[in-house]
């Protein structure tokens, strides 16, 4: 493996050959803020021992191209479950994501006026790892672009799984 360049330099190199709309897509998908999230699932964990029925809350500010967002989640340790052959702690989550401040850097103003999140995950203490997570998001967006105000309803399902063999 050869050290090549930093993230910004890599993005510059890729973007040099891309059209503006493609650059925007790339920057959204592989922004520093987005990539950071890949490794942050650990922080959904409580910072001490929990028992069935215990709850804990997590808040986070997210930087994004549409502005600052606030994520507030509440987790509940529901029970122990066999999940894909593993003895796992089953945790449910509920919360919301809302716009904290709107950015117009993309040429339009996007505000999350309603953002409900629910989901669940399974933590395997033998691995010390979340092995499966399901997340459902229902968001209402107010979008102002070119003097038009649009309303968008977004339904999103995300599943993250640690692949077999671990």
């Amino acid at each position: 493996m050869e050290k090549l360049e930093g993230l910004d330099a890599l993005k510059s190199r890729i973007n040099a050959a891309a059209q503006p709309q493609e650059q925007a897509l790339f920057n959204e998908l592989f922004s520093e803020d987005t990539l950071k999230q890949y490794g942050s699932f650990a922080d959904a964990m409580p910072n001490h021992v929990v028992a069935i029925g215990d709850t804990w809350q997590v808040k986070k500010d997210i930087n994004s191209s549409i502005g600052g967002l606030t994520l507030a989640m509440k987790y509940t340790f529901k029970n122990w479950e066999q999940h894909d052959g593993r003895q796992c702690a089953h945790v449910t989550e509920v919360g919301n994501i809302l716009t904290k401040n709107v950015s117009t850097a993309t040429g339009m103003a996007v505000e999350i006026t309603n953002g409900d999140i629910s989901g669940e995950f399974w933590y395997d203490p033998a691995l010390g790892m979340i092995v499966d997570a399901d997340n459902h998001q229902n968001m209402t967006l107010k979008i102002i672009t070119r003097a038009q105000t649009l309303s968008s309803q977004i339904n999103r399902n995300v599943r993250l799984a640690l692949l077999a063999g671990q």
Binding site: E2, L10, Q37, P125, N135
Partner: protein, 397 residues
């Protein structure tokens, strides 16, 4: 693959002006288009005009359709959109008629399956992702085998079976929520038997003459074409903007960073307590898979119906734990192994990328090189907890 043959015919028409190639496509799909239009309008004359318009649009789009386009699915969506455009201004009337129709079927002692689902089928199909919709069109509108469905979708038979099963289940739930409680096999059988029937004799010849040979179309048909094309172009532009704005939240809302513990309560303990710590093991790889399925429905002033966009994203990536930092966090390495991304905008596919395919198949997809460049790139991350995120570096092979 049959679907690739369709696109080959379309290319032949576009590049060689081959009327015979277009005629073959018209003969093959005129029943599908006409039946969908008839179901959408309930008017045979309107259905013929919409069929004409759809094939004119096909002729105009012949050069721009991606080789991965599943033509039957594209024609189905274009027909649905054109019919919706035709019905603009008549939505209330249509709704009243549908309600009356539904009421009449509810009064029947043992209603047939098809009359129950037919008035709602297009609405149900609209709620499916492009892949799910294509799977239903291929399997039940065209009555293709699961192997053929898989081949057209770029998947194996087992994956196609799963896709069809899930899509059918979504249709079942859609109907069930509206009081039409039927089993998935009954719905599948009804669609398979009734969704496509014969168009009027000579319609395929007529649409070929109009669309491919340039014979004069009725002014109302051309108006229909113009309106549908506008709607399609507008749909694409808005969908790209909204998709770009919100897709970044995929990972962000699935996973959580800075923690502010609050409100732990000691409650009744019925099982063993657990310390839920993430335990990285130095030198170990953690392969992960993420799937994101998103539907965005956007209301726009002056538009008769919402614009529906779909995004389907899958990623395989590895985390490697490099070393533990003094602050207790871990230096991790993130590497993207594979990625698929499908973005649909109303009637058409905007992007269909699969890193597992040869780069030669990326032709016509300008975003593909960008996504492909990420595969294999390693991000050295020094994150976590107390230290915060910093010291980002990108590495590559």
């Amino acid at each position: 693959m049959p679907e690739l043959d369709d696109i080959a015919l379309l290319r032949q028409y576009a590049e060689d002006n081959s009327e015979s190639a277009f005629s073959m496509l018209a003969e093959k799909y005129v029943n599908l288009v006409y039946s969908t239009a008839l179901r959408g309008t309930g008017n045979a004359q309107a259905a013929e005009e919409i069929t004409q318009a759809v094939f004119i649009i096909l002729a105009r789009k012949a050069r721009s359709l991606s080789k991965r386009t599943i033509l039957s699915g594209w024609l189905y969506q274009t027909t649905r959109l054109t019919a919706a455009n035709f019905l603009r201004g008549e939505i209330r009337r249509q709704k009243r008629e549908q309600e009356a129709y539904m009421q009449s079927t509810l009064n029947e002692p043992e209603p047939e399956v098809w009359p129950q689902i037919a008035p709602l089928l297009e609405a149900a199909m609209t709620g499916l992702s492009e892949k799910d919709r294509n799977a239903i069109v291929l399997r039940f509108f065209e009555n293709k085998s699961l192997g053929e469905v898989g081949s057209a979708l770029g998947a194996n038979e087992a994956a196609a079976k799963m896709r069809v099963h899930r899509a059918l289940e979504k249709l079942r739930k859609f109907f069930s929520k509206r009081g039409i409680v039927l089993s998935a096999p009954l719905i599948a059988g009804a669609i398979s038997t009734n969704s496509v029937h014969a168009a009027p004799v000579g319609l395929a010849v007529a649409v070929t003459a109009t669309a491919a040979q340039g014979s004069a179309a009725a002014a109302s048909t051309l108006t229909l074409v113009k309106g549908a094309l506008k709607l399609m172009a507008w749909t694409k532009m808005k969908a790209a903007a909204v998709t770009g704005a919100v897709v970044l939240l995929t990972a962000g809302t699935t996973t959580i960073a800075v923690k502010e513990f609050a409100g732990h309560r000691a409650s009744e303990t019925r099982g063993g307590p657990v310390d839920m710590k993430i335990t990285w093991i130095a030198g170990r790889e953690y392969p992960m898979h993420i799937e994101m399925d998103q539907t965005a429905s956007t209301d726009v002033p002056g538009r008769p119906q919402s614009v529906v966009q779909g995004v389907n994203l899958t990623q395989d990536f590895d985390f490697s734990a490099l070393k533990q930092l003094d602050n207790g966090g871990w230096q991790l390495e993130l590497k993207f192994d594979s990625e698929t991304m499908d973005i649909s905008q109303g009637d058409r596919s905007v992007m269909s990328f699969n890193s597992a395919q040869s780069a030669a198949q990326d032709a016509g997809d300008p975003a593909a090189p960008i996504l492909r460049a990420m595969i294999g790139t390693r991000f050295n991350i020094s994150p976590m907890r107390k230290a915060g995120w910093k010291n980002w570096k990108a590495w590559t092979h």
